[in-house]
Symmetry: C2
Subunit: 104 residues, 2 copies
Amino acid sequence: MSQFDKVSVVKKANVYFEGKVTSRAVILEDGTKITLGIMLPGEYEFGTGQKEIMDIQSGELSVLLPGQSEWLEISEPTKFEVPANSSFKLVVKTVTDYICSYLD
Amino acid sequence: MSQFDKVSVVKKANVYFEGKVTSRAVILEDGTKITLGIMLPGEYEFGTGQKEIMDIQSGELSVLLPGQSEWLEISEPTKFEVPANSSFKLVVKTVTDYICSYLD
């Protein structure tokens, strides 16, 4: 499926790290919220409230998940999960297009 | 209205200038297409096919419209029109959040 249908899109962008990471909040038909985002090359750390599923659509990056010592190397479409109330580190090598889902 | 409802959002981002300008395509309920985009500080020139309405939601920038010698200075929410089959120059000073509509 190349698009989300019957959704709402919040007009105002979410902007982090001086615009090097930005996203748009989308509310799906069932009421759940996701974000569609872009990360430019750089090093970032994000905290989580809810559990998150990061769906990397394109881009090359390394990810260090909480409690892990090995970095996850991503260079093709990949999904990974981040536990609630934790944080994860990213080293983004090329412009990365992602979708983030939030789980209860 | 802080969000668009009953729309479709194309998953894949539009990426320009090595990610310094990115946008998401949104198809409104009436079938018309808009894009929600972000421009990072920098100098850009964009060409138009259809006539465009640029709705600057936030950000500071200067815009040179086709046929004009005076730059348009923008530092608050502002709309401007760009004729079809032309191009316009932008000098973006701060992260700019915009919506672009395309008119027949």
